[in-house]
Subunit: 228 residues, 2 copies
DNA sequence: TCCTCGATCGAACGTTCGTTCGTATCCTAC
DNA sequence: GTAGGATACGAACGAACGTTCGATCGAGGA
């Protein structure tokens, strides 16, 4: 009775609170791959069964529905982003070090989990209203973390006051540089993620004609998994 | 007889060469709206019939298939981008003026045709191999235009030589800032497209702590339509 | 030994999908 | 007036979809 069961049915807790075991984890990874390539509606459960080597009905032992899979990818993805993003912000002292840390984490994380991150970017249209709210809330929290960092960098750099509207725009411009990489980045052609992170950091702070100082590389680090 | 017919059937020329009349144009606009929100596979012909006030079978008078709609949105979208992007590059003299012109056009165009541009960004996965090649070719040509501009700006700014890899990365970072706006930009909250274009231009050139010179605004201009 | 329960499967259900077919209406050229 | 093309529609087809159901198998505790 009770305790941790890995079946999808017969649980009392909401699915996002249940631990992601090996079976479900593999499912989510393959599902993210399919959804990233074909979109949520273009990824069929039959395709997922094929690539996971399972039977169609066997999938429903791990998730109650296809929407559950999408929701779990979104929930664990954004939760990990928020947790690590906040931790990165607190691990450094100065505003620019915080910024460097955040960019480094975000870029390496995106490069390591491209399929999942692409699913996150597709929005919450296919989710129920309540779940969409949950995901949007997590996304907003993540955005707020970077905005706060950007705000502090702006204030420490400018002489006069900086408008909130401009901070908002700059935050999204930075997210744009970092998120767009899923569409073109290849480690073989464009260098290691750390290199890319450094280029984004310098571009955002100093622009194309930016100074050549501040040379220290981002330390190569472990990349966090999406679920554990 | 012969000449311009607006029916989908009985034509000899490839569909992308045929003029986009009022009927097909309206169809494409609504289709782009649906596909931008729900993805290609999530946008059904029945939904399209509903929002256009037509019957389901009536849609097939204008396009032979749903894939045709996706292809036409992609083809005319990228074709317009390439044509105007190239024209913008030639309309200015110095490298930085060319860059300013390109950014201004791209941002205003994206802000004016958000749904279509989001469809363009979703990739060519749902298209046939040949059509996917055609679209990728157009996209590559558009990318090359901006890369050439960025290369010249880099060379005119730097003392030493600039690596192609770095130019490549910077080009994509700039595209990232410009393309990401579909996810967050709202003219009411974040200012006019011209203002946003100016901020992207300054950020890309000078970074966050960038100079305040170069104050002249982008001129407010007409935005090109997707098909004519 | 038997019973339970997680894990897995084949078969099928009802729905929705893209597309086709036959037909009807309107406008225009001859 | 009538032939022919553009425009539009309802009904239907076959395929693919997400999901459910009942059964089987194997391991572990009573």
């Amino acid at each position: 009775m009770g305790g941790a069961r890995s079946s999808a049915a017969g649980r009392k807790e909401p699915i996002e609170r249940q631990p992601v075991g090996e079976g479900l984890g593999g499912l989510l990874r393959k599902a993210a791959r399919l959804m990233a390539r074909n979109g949520f509606h273009g990824a069929s459960m039959r395709d997922l069964a094929k690539v996971t080597g399972r039977s169609l009905s066997g999938l429903y032992h791990y998730a109650r529905s296809k929407e559950d899979l999408l929701y779990l990818i979104n929930f664990h993805g954004f939760t990990t982003l928020v947790e690590h993003g906040r931790a990165r912000g607190m691990a450094f002292r100065g505003p620019r070090e915080k910024l460097r840390g955040f960019i480094s984490f975000h870029v390496r994380y995106f490069a390591a989990h491209r399929d999942e991150m692409r699913v996150l970017m597709w929005g919450t249209q296919a989710l129920s209203d309540e779940r969409a709210r949950t995901i949007r809330n997590l996304k907003d929290r993540y955005t707020a973390i970077l905005r706060e960092i950007v705000r502090n960098v702006c204030r420490s750099a400018a002489k006069g006051p900086v408008s909130e509207k401009s901070i908002d725009r700059k935050t999204f411009l930075l997210f744009g540089m970092m998120n767009w990489i899923y569409g073109w980045y290849s480690a073989a052609r464009h260098g290691a993620p750390e290199e890319l992170a450094e280029e984004i950091y310098r571009t955002f702070l100093y622009g194309l004609s930016g100074r050549r100082r501040e040379r220290r590389k981002f330390p190569a680090q472990e990349v966090a998994p999406l679920w554990n």
